[in-house]
Symmetry: C2
Subunit: 319 residues, 2 copies
């Protein structure tokens, strides 16, 4: 899993930061990419990455403000233009379907694939064998959701060398052992599953939040997450404005991470008033509250290392 930030600005694009979009790359896990928000020119940002629009399986919209959705028309069109024919599922607040259908109809955009819309309510919004996604309503000026993405524990792996050592023959007994069962060999030896398998591995938990004030829902949604992606439109000096405008400061974001017992905090939705060189200062303002803070920039990519249960910034690979 990697998190590739496509747009990390707030409100309107600047030369440094585009409006919101974040790709959760699940290429190893499921061969696809999930997109969170789609500000204008997200498809333009994608041109500078290795992402393929047709690999986008799901798009989650946190809220309907323009800086989070105005790139959707163009991206859907390009996904089609470039030969995408796989189903796309779009999750978002009520209104996302009307928005999408209106611009497709008026621009006479005929897609080569189908879209299923899910108008999001709080609770479990997606689950399959490997992943689940939970949504919670945050505290913004319009309905704004946070999403908690949980990778289910990875099944135990069969340690084939160990099994051979114990005398387990190739065939159905191996499958039973892999599935957690205890088996008896022909010579009467009993072999337990845990003797010949590695333990199940925990998956990752990532919480990706829409625009929000500091709120208890954000803390609960982020509980114990390995990674928390949280907006930080303001700094501690402008803390009061954050509340007034329905946003968070970097302090609020750190407090949420701290109270949730989350791992790495990655702050995005950074106001254009902060220059790239301010990122370090911004992070420093909140390190006393939460020890691991990154300020995301456009094209920043973070990679999940499952053995260390930790996410790390990759070297910049802008193309």
């Amino acid at each position: 899993m990697q998190l590739l930030f496509l747009g990390t600005g707030a409100g309107i694009p600047s030369k440094q930061r585009n409006t919101s979009s974040l790709a959760l790359k699940l290429l190893e896990e499921r061969g696809t990419v999930w997109l969170f928000d789609c500000g204008e020119a997200t498809q333009h940002q994608i041109l500078h990455t290795t992402l393929k629009p047709r690999k986008i399986e799901k798009i989650f919209i946190t809220h309907l403000h323009g800086d989070h959705i105005f790139g959707l028309p163009g991206l859907l069109g390009s996904r089609s233009f470039q030969g995408g024919d796989e189903l796309l599922e779009i999750y978002g607040p009520a209104g996302i379907q009307e928005f999408t259908e209106t611009f497709l109809r008026i621009s006479q955009t005929h897609l080569t694939y189908s879209i299923i819309f899910h108008e999001v309510q709080e609770g479990l919004i997606f689950e399959d064998e490997t992943m689940e996604v939970e949504a919670r309503l945050l505290d913004h000026v319009i309905p704004s959701f946070g999403y908690r993405i949980t990778q289910k524990p990875l099944p135990p792996k069969l340690l084939i060398d160990e099994a051979v050592k114990k005398g387990v023959p190739k065939g159905p007994l191996l499958a039973k052992l892999k599935n957690g069962e205890t088996v008896e060999l022909e010579d009467g030896t009993v072999v337990k599953s845990e003797e010949v398998t590695s333990p199940a591995e925990a998956g990752f938990v990532v919480a990706i939040l829409g625009d929000t004030r500091f709120c208890q829902a954000a803390v609960e949604l982020s509980r114990g997450a390995d990674v928390l992606v949280h907006e930080a439109t303001f700094d501690t000096e402008t803390q009061k404005l954050a509340k007034a405008y329905g946003h968070s400061s970097i302090y609020d974001a750190a407090l949420t991470a701290h109270q949730a017992g989350a791992g790495t905090l990655i702050a995005n939705h950074i106001s254009a008033r902060f220059l790239p060189e301010d990122a370090k200062t911004l992070a420093n303002e909140a390190l006393h509250v939460h020890p691991t803070i990154h300020i995301a920039h456009d094209f920043a990519e973070y990679e999940w290392h499952k053995n260390k249960k930790e996410i790390q910034k990759k070297k910049k690979e802008r193309q």
Copy 2:
């Protein structure tokens, strides 16, 4: 007057060319800018120019394909965000108002200014003391308009030194002479307007066309224009595709300019299959049909020199 090309690509954005948008800068003429089409990320392109969104007085949409309108939501929002409070007028095919109002409503974008929509029909769509705009339906796969922008002749200028030489006193007689009247001085001398004024100067005529096949309407709309901005999605080799897809080749564009007796042809809406280094070859393919051809690139700017009645490319000033 200057023509600043913000997006010169076709269909989808590439790293070299954004989707369609063209600014007609009328800063000297009326202190404003008129925008023709607004593909996605037009506001991002504007960030690299000296254009101010609040200076945009009118937006003309040629047709409703996504590569010509998907930047409208963001641009309208940013014009507001940056303190624009002057009325904006939007001209375009039926549907442009519903498109705009739907995304404003769903994204809860509250603009600081009013918009007047004009759903375009063929004929004169705008006229005031200095300018007029005529629209004509072209031949594309959906209704697509061309716009002919005519600057009215500039009024004669009073040659004050000549008037003084003839003994005309300061005051109302000068105003009469400026207005074309003949006056009699106190000493009985008769002074004619043309003796103390420069002749009225012709204004410019620019035709800016939407996507189209070669068609007679395009020729008529461009009749005698000083500048013709015409799409050239294809080259002569792919000429047949142009017709099939409702587009033009560079040859079609040149033929239109030739048959219309137009001045400079500036080709835009260039397919991503042509690389920047192909521009010269592309122009060369049609120079035998029309002698003055430019292939526009993003941020190319052309300046009107009224004394020479000619438009010339400015040095690139990308910021």
